[in-house]
């Protein structure tokens, strides 16, 4: 399973350089240049999915464990916000942290059980967990309204003078949370906690022998991953306004996996870039919906054959070989 051995490493400490700032400025200007709300909606959803992909990257890329329960946590976060708002009248701003906390807690508990298995068994185990969460959401009709889903979910209330009623305001809000996620993950990776996860991913026997509590480290990664899926799910529910059980579908997990793999497993920027490329392409290809998966399937095979570390990995080796040649 070569995919589970990403070539990413703990980045050198030091300044992040200019690239992240340039990307942020571009992201701030971009919504102003979009022709209509349709593109803004797509952009906002891409931000939300990118947060979820970053979460998957924490358990898959940093800790090296292929979790397929990810959309389950996305669903838990989304339904927490949706049901708290529609059934209990809880505002989005309280529902969101509650949803994240619920995801973190369930991530901790589920992780404690699933992480006793390793490798393929862990992947299969977590996929079963994801399917169970999806089924619970779908079948618990008295709570979740089953297939009909939850409608009329109120969006975020204004914060001071800032209202989030417009599409553009919501897109900036999603961008804010994505930037926050990116900063948090960067700090995590460049800390002793991130280094420990790298050690667990690369060689759990050696990590354990030098005093790393491997189980606790993996559980931490799983919990963070679930919490970020919950954040993305909560935003999704609040922004779209309606929610069906398909948001917790296993297919969603595979979409996230595709985003992370295309961008580059274990890299910091890869999952975000991958989300924009794949989600953007899927919108463009929506006109040829039947063939969409055929095209993605072929593209994925080609990608894994020629760029196993994703676009970020390919870019990194290109830069490295250029630097080597220049010296």
């Amino acid at each position: 399973m070569a995919l589970l051995h990403p070539t990413a490493h703990t980045p050198r400490s030091g300044g992040p350089g200019l690239v992240p700032w340039a990307v942020l400025v571009a992201a701030l200007i971009l919504p102003l240049g979009l022709p209509n709300d349709y593109y803004l909606e797509i952009l906002t959803q891409a931000y939300v999915f990118a947060i979820s992909a970053c979460g998957l990257n924490v358990i898959l890329g940093l800790a090296g464990q292929l979790s397929l329960a990810h959309s389950g946590f996305f669903g838990i976060g989304a339904y927490a916000v949706a049901l708290l708002a529609t059934k209990a009248g809880v505002s989005f701003w309280l529902g969101l942290p509650a949803g994240i906390a619920l995801c973190a807690l369930s991530g901790y508990v589920i992780g404690s059980i699933c992480l006793r298995s390793k490798g393929h068994y862990f992947a299969i185990f977590t996929m079963a967990v994801g399917i169970i969460i999806h089924l619970v959401i779908q079948k618990w009709e008295s709570l979740t309204h089953g297939h009909i889903g939850v409608i009329g979910i109120p969006g975020p209330d204004p914060v001071g003078p800032i209202s989030f009623d417009s599409t553009i305001a919501r897109s900036y809000l999603a961008l804010f949370f994505l930037a926050l996620t990116a900063v948090a993950i960067t700090r995590l990776v460049r800390s002793p906690v991130g280094r420990t996860l790298m050690a667990v991913r690369e060689n759990d026997m050696l990590a354990e022998a030098v005093g790393v509590d491997v189980m606790a480290a993996k559980r931490t990664a799983f919990t963070i991953s679930a919490a970020l899926a919950g954040l993305a799910g909560g935003l999704f529910a609040g922004f779209i306004g309606f929610l069906g059980p398909e948001s917790a579908n296993v297919e969603m997990t595979f979409n996230m996996l595709l985003y992370v793999m295309v961008g580059g497993i274990g890299s910091l920027s890869g999952p975000i870039a991958g989300t924009f490329i794949v989600y953007g392409l899927s919108q463009v290809l929506a006109v040829v919906q039947q063939c969409q998966m055929v095209i993605f399937g072929l593209a994925l095979v080609v990608l894994i054959r020629f760029m196993p570390a994703g676009l970020a990995g390919a870019l990194r080796s290109l830069v490295r070989s250029r630097v080597a040649r220049a010296q």
């Binding site: 070539t7 700090r187 050696l206 030098v210 005093g211 790393v212």
Partner: protein
């Protein structure tokens, strides 16, 4: 004073008894060698002592405490460090990062510290980097901090593995065939390093196939054969022990 003791320590895999009621006592500050033919159970004994494998029966006492039921990371934190026979490291992380992972057990900063970049995290990171650079210097790897482990030579990787084990200042260091896969000159350098480590007060228990290495380093040697301890004593005694000669030169 005895730092490590095992009492009738046993590890069986199904019907095979890889470690068969082994009694072992390692004096604090000593260099003790474990020798024996292939398949004698030496590495299994290490795995059980370092808790990478659970014992089937018997007791392990480290520094006066019964550690038989602890987990691997817990005995590591108590001060038992080890290297592995195959030089397995952390992929393509840098030499410095490798050693920093070894120091992690000494630091307390957690997730919240990482997210907030707390003072504690900064202080501990400075402390960890100092300790890591020190130990890399001792291991003869100064100047290689930023190199990837996979770009190092076999000998440098062996030294790096020792540095990782050493950085958290263990009381006991278990070395599994430190001289495997390196040439005679490099072995001489490694012997010097092991002697330096022992001189700094770290007790050493090592598995070794090369007799001249064992005879030169160890004041006490234990011989395993078929999971059983068949002899124990000074290098001189072991050299003339009939049971040892028998185990090495063939059976009747």
């Amino acid at each position: 004073m005895t730092l490590l003791e095992t009492h009738r320590l046993r590890k069986s895999f199904g019907g095979l008894c890889a470690v068969d009621d082994v009694d072992l006592a390692v004096a604090a500050g000593s260099i003790t060698g474990i020798i024996g033919p292939n398949g004698a159970g030496k590495t299994t004994l290490f795995n059980v002592i370092s808790r990478a494998l659970p014992a089937s029966s018997g007791r392990i006492v480290f520094n006066g405490d019964d550690v038989t039921s602890l987990q691997a990371h817990q005995v590591a934190r108590l001060g038992i460090a080890r290297t592995f026979q195959a030089t397995t490291l952390f992929g393509n992380a840098t030499a410095l990062d490798h050693v920093l992972v070894g120091y992690r057990q000494r630091t307390r900063a957690g997730l919240i510290d990482a997210l907030l970049r707390s003072n504690r995290l900064t202080r501990e990171e400075d402390e960890a980097h100092d300790a890591a650079r020190d130990v890399l210097r001792i291991a003869g790897l100064s100047g290689h901090e930023a190199r990837r482990a996979q770009d190092l030579t076999q000998e440098q990787q062996k030294r790096l593995a020792i540095a990782i084990a050493l950085v958290a200042k263990p009381r006991l260091l278990l070395l599994d065939e430190p001289s495997a896969g390196i040439n005679t000159d490099q072995t001489r350098g490694l012997i010097t390093l092991i002697e330096q480590i022992a001189a700094a007060g770290v007790t050493i228990l090592l598995i070794e196939h090369q007799m001249q290495v064992v005879m030169q380093l160890c004041r006490r040697i234990m011989v395993l054969d078929d999971g059983k301890k068949i002899a124990e004593g000074t290098p001189e005694e072991i050299r003339h022990d009939p049971a040892v000669l028998d185990a090495y030169l063939g059976r009747h």
